[in-house]
């Protein structure tokens, strides 16, 4: 639309840009870098750092480019003497009260202030007076504060209010007495609080667990995927030698934007606690240290006579899942189960994934939460719902009356509340309604008709139309969608796990699934493949060490159905071996067919069999389901939420000291803030 374009000049070069942009955005399009501290793409504009000053022809003074709208014919100059002098002046003022403690500052080497002082600042200080000092503030167990370094850009305040949706941070006082703090110095109660560390342009807010651990240039960077919820946030794992020192987000505008949850950011110390580093065999009711040769020999003998069942846990990548399926096919069909939580599905992909692209959630004007607590199950999706809420979307909740960081209208406990009059009225008015049904109900559905009824209901109220499918199924597990795509389930019934005929199996192979400890397997021979010693490993007859997701390559399909790769960061701990290579060895000895010799061969065989998975970063396309029943009928089931404690939802975070501190300081300490918002 040429109506929306205007002509401007940047440094005498002519450009055509959207008229709704600011001067700073136009300069970026023109390829001119504008220094800034307070401005951030994802936050509202504050305009208080004054670093982005530029010259505009005919304007008497320099103007802050982040707050200045464009006008037709505007001529912007970013490289004149006047601009440079302006930047130098602003920089000098910013540095007046900034301590010279870069050598002991955690931000050193990746500090915006440091970098920009180098590019745009004076080479020496003219300031001889005393600098101000500010007391450090408590912000909880994750964020370390050294408030003397703060330059009052208020990015953290805007983040807490606008993105995290917890208005707990603020700037008190004014002028030289201005201080950033949380209300009465309480811990931030957000699941996204760690992101203020990345936002802070200086070293005022830094990571507590990473304090004094490393310098950025010492770290090896590995691209990976967050496997602690199903969103598949893109992360960067920073390691030195064989140890992960921190986890930070990678920008992916389609999924996590620039944020990640506190769980994946801070639970990495749990990667190295309680690790199974060598094979164990149970002797006289006690697990004792063994070796690979012996344990595989015992397992091989058992596999010759007993009929096995494989359980797949929540952190299993696709390649491993495929290898398991391949191995188990030697024992017949329907003997691999990933739905250990009784997750009800129909056959097609759109009955177990999040069908709305995550970026489109914010466009919805009515959201129904059915048995899901997105705040603790998938904080990133919760942020997107919060965005929709801020765009005036109404949010209804059915299940338990959970507390979220936005207002919801609670309709009641059971699914049948979908027929609530108010809701139906709102649905009829809505132009873009969206339903999210979570594990709390999905795991409890006993009759497949209920699931089909939900589809019919969605169809009836235009949640599903020809153009869009806004009926979303949300489970909190990173492995689930991928494993279901490659068919790692025993049946297509509801309650698949409870319906397993126990008598058919004498040997259970658990790949990181703690459900192996369930009573129903008491008479089976149990083998646990995993990395952390918890209930699952303790009750097993053989325990085999396998690598964590950061210690091997793997593909994960996120909740939208988007395959992504998590790369290997360092070698496995102890004598852990990748699952596929263990299964390969067993296959060879049992003379089963298992052709792939390397991981790459395994992966290409997987992609040959399932070509839809090979297109990384793209959402798998499917036809909308047509399994619609004429009459809508919901059974009565009580919601049981899969995650009750955000900081301790899996074996890894249960072993993290940082997560334990969060539970102690954030959850256990009753917050005085609960009523605000």
């Amino acid at each position: 639309m040429s109506d929306d374009l205007i002509n401007i000049k940047v440094n005498q070069k002519e450009f055509q840009v959207d008229k709704n942009l600011t001067v700073m955005q136009a300069c970026e399009i023109a390829g001119e870098e504008i220094p800034r501290f307070c401005y951030h793409d994802k936050l509202s504009i504050a305009g208080n750092c004054r670093m982005c000053l530029v010259e505009i022809e005919k304007a008497p003074k320099l103007v802050s480019s982040c707050t200045m709208p464009l006008m037709e014919g505007m001529s912007i100059i970013t490289n004149s003497e006047k601009v440079n002098a302006g930047r130098k002046g602003v920089m000098e003022f910013l540095l007046i009260n900034h301590p010279l403690d870069c050598p002991i500052c955690d931000q050193g080497g990746e500090c915006d202030l440091q970098d920009q002082a180098m590019y745009y600042g004076f080479d020496k200080s003219r300031y001889k007076e005393n600098k101000r000092a500010v007391d450090n503030k408590n912000m909880g167990p994750l964020v370390n504060t050294i408030m003397t370094r703060c330059i009052h850009c208020t990015r953290c305040v805007r983040f807490a209010t606008e993105v995290a949706g917890v208005p707990e941070l603020g700037m008190l006082g004014r002028g030289e007495n201005a201080e950033i703090t949380t209300y009465l110095e309480q811990s931030i109660t957000s699941e996204l609080s760690g992101n203020v560390i990345d936002l802070c342009p200086v070293g005022a807010l830094t990571s507590k667990p990473y304090q004094f651990k490393a310098r950025p240039w010492e770290l090896k960077r590995t691209d990976s995927i967050d496997i602690f919820d199903s969103v598949g946030s893109n992360i960067r794992v920073d390691s030195r030698a064989e140890e992960i020192l921190r986890v930070t987000p990678r920008t992916n505008e389609y999924i996590n934007e620039e944020w990640i949850s506190d769980k994946v950011r801070f639970n990495y110390d749990g990667y190295y606690q309680q690790r199974i580093d060598t094979p164990y065999i149970k002797e006289n009711q006690k697990l004792s240290i063994s070796n690979w040769e012996e344990s595989l020999k015992v397992l091989k003998e058992k596999l010759k006579t007993l009929k096995p069942l494989a359980l797949i846990g929540e952190h299993v990548d696709l390649e491993t899942g495929y290898a398991i399926k391949k191995f188990m096919s030697n024992y017949g069909k329907n003997n691999v189960e990933c739905r250990t939580d009784n997750h009800a599905i129909l056959e097609s992909l759109d009955s177990y994934r999040f069908n709305t692209p995550l970026n489109d959630i914010e466009n919805s004007d009515l959201i129904i939460l059915l048995g899901t607590n997105p705040k603790i199950e998938t904080p990133i999706i919760n942020h997107k719902i919060f965005k929709a809420y801020n765009n005036d979307a109404k949010v209804f909740n059915i299940g338990e009356n959970i507390s979220l960081n936005y207002k919801t209208e609670y309709l009641g406990e059971s699914l049948s509340n979908l027929n609530n009059e108010n809701l139906i009225k709102a649905l009829k008015k809505s132009t873009n309604p969206l339903i999210i049904i979570g594990s709390a109900f999905l795991n409890k559905i006993k009759n497949i008709k209920t699931l089909k009824s939900i589809f019919s209901y969605a169809d009836k109220y235009k949640v599903i139309t020809k153009e869009k499918n806004n009926l979303n199924f949300l489970n909190p597990y990173a492995s689930r969608v991928g494993q279901l795509i490659i068919g790692n389930t025993t049946n297509n019934l509801c309650e698949p796990f409870s319906n397993l005929k126990k008598d058919n199996f004498e040997l259970v192979l658990s790949f990181g699934s703690e459900h192996i400890a369930n009573e129903q397997f008491n008479n089976c021979f149990k083998v646990y493949f995993g990395h952390h010693g918890d209930d699952g490993a303790m009750g097993s007859d053989i325990v085999l060490p396998t690598p964590l997701y950061t210690e091997k390559n793997g593909t994960f399909v996120n909740i939208e159905g988007r395959p992504q790769e998590a790369k290997k960061c360092h070698n496995p701990i102890g004598s852990a071996k990748e699952e596929w290579s263990i299964l390969k060895k067993l296959s060879d000895e049992l003379s089963f067919d298992f052709t792939p010799n390397t991981f790459d061969q395994l992966r290409s065989e997987l992609f040959d069999k399932h070509p839809i998975l090979s297109d990384y970063h793209e959402i798998i396309a499917v036809e909308n389901s047509t399994s619609i029943t004429p009459d809508i009928e919901f059974e009565d089931c009580k919601a049981e939420y899969p995650v009750s404690n955000f900081y301790m939802s899996d074996v890894i975070s249960k072993n993290s000291v940082t997560m334990a501190k969060c539970v102690e300081e954030i959850i256990s300490t009753p917050s005085l803030l609960e009523k605000s918002a």
Partner: protein, 195 residues
């Protein structure tokens, strides 16, 4: 002014007593909120802070902030920000009489230093301090807007203008003895007419 000025501190404290609006204030609040458009009720935070301060012995406690946040349905930190920004909201308890001495140039030229000295001597407390009997808190402030009648002071809600050492002492003595004071010019001037 040192950082100890009761209006310029970022540290809030609890009074230990529940704060709830008086009946009169509840009526005024309704009136105040009605001045703002729907959805913009938070704009009433400043007048409400003022009411709370009046009701709460001239200072804003954490309890006041929480009550205001609840009344206006806004985050507590936002109320705290406003209360800490303005020096007229006292963030710690002050004496029964808050004596604010103007020390900006016009008053200073007319001898505000002497007034300060007299007040400190008579009330037996330092600047930014509260007297032992909790009768007085003395603070120095910038211009209170009565320059033509300087030097001047403000005690709670009242202005006392055209002061000299004698009249200042008299005012303080009257307060001590519970006697009424003449408000405004101490030289009998009406408003700012020619002296």
């Amino acid at each position: 002014m040192s950082g100890n000025h009761p209006g310029l501190s970022n540290n809030f404290s609890r009074s230990g007593e529940k704060f709830s609006w008086s009946k009169d204030n509840l009526r005024s609040i309704k009136n105040i909120i009605s001045k703002y458009p729907k959805g913009r009720e938070q704009s009433a935070v400043m007048p409400l802070l003022y009411l709370a301060q009046e009701q709460n012995n001239n200072w804003i406690s954490i309890e006041c902030i929480e009550t205001i946040a609840e009344t206006l349905n806004m985050p507590k930190i936002r109320v705290t920000e406003v209360a800490s920004f303005y020096s007229m909201y006292n963030t710690r308890p002050v004496g029964e009489n808050l004596v604010q001495i103007c020390r900006t140039s016009p008053c200073w030229l007319r001898g505000s230093n002497k007034i300060t000295k007299t007040i400190c001597k008579e009330t037996k407390c330092e600047i930014n301090d509260t007297s032992d009997d909790n009768k007085f808190t003395v603070v120095e402030v910038e211009c209170l807007g009565a320059c033509s009648n300087g030097p001047m002071i403000q005690i709670n809600n009242d202005f006392f203008e055209d002061l000299d050492e004698e009249s200042t002492k008299k005012i303080i003595d009257n307060i001590k003895e519970g006697k009424p004071n003449v408000i405004g010019s101490q030289k009998g001037r009406r408003s700012s007419e020619n002296a």
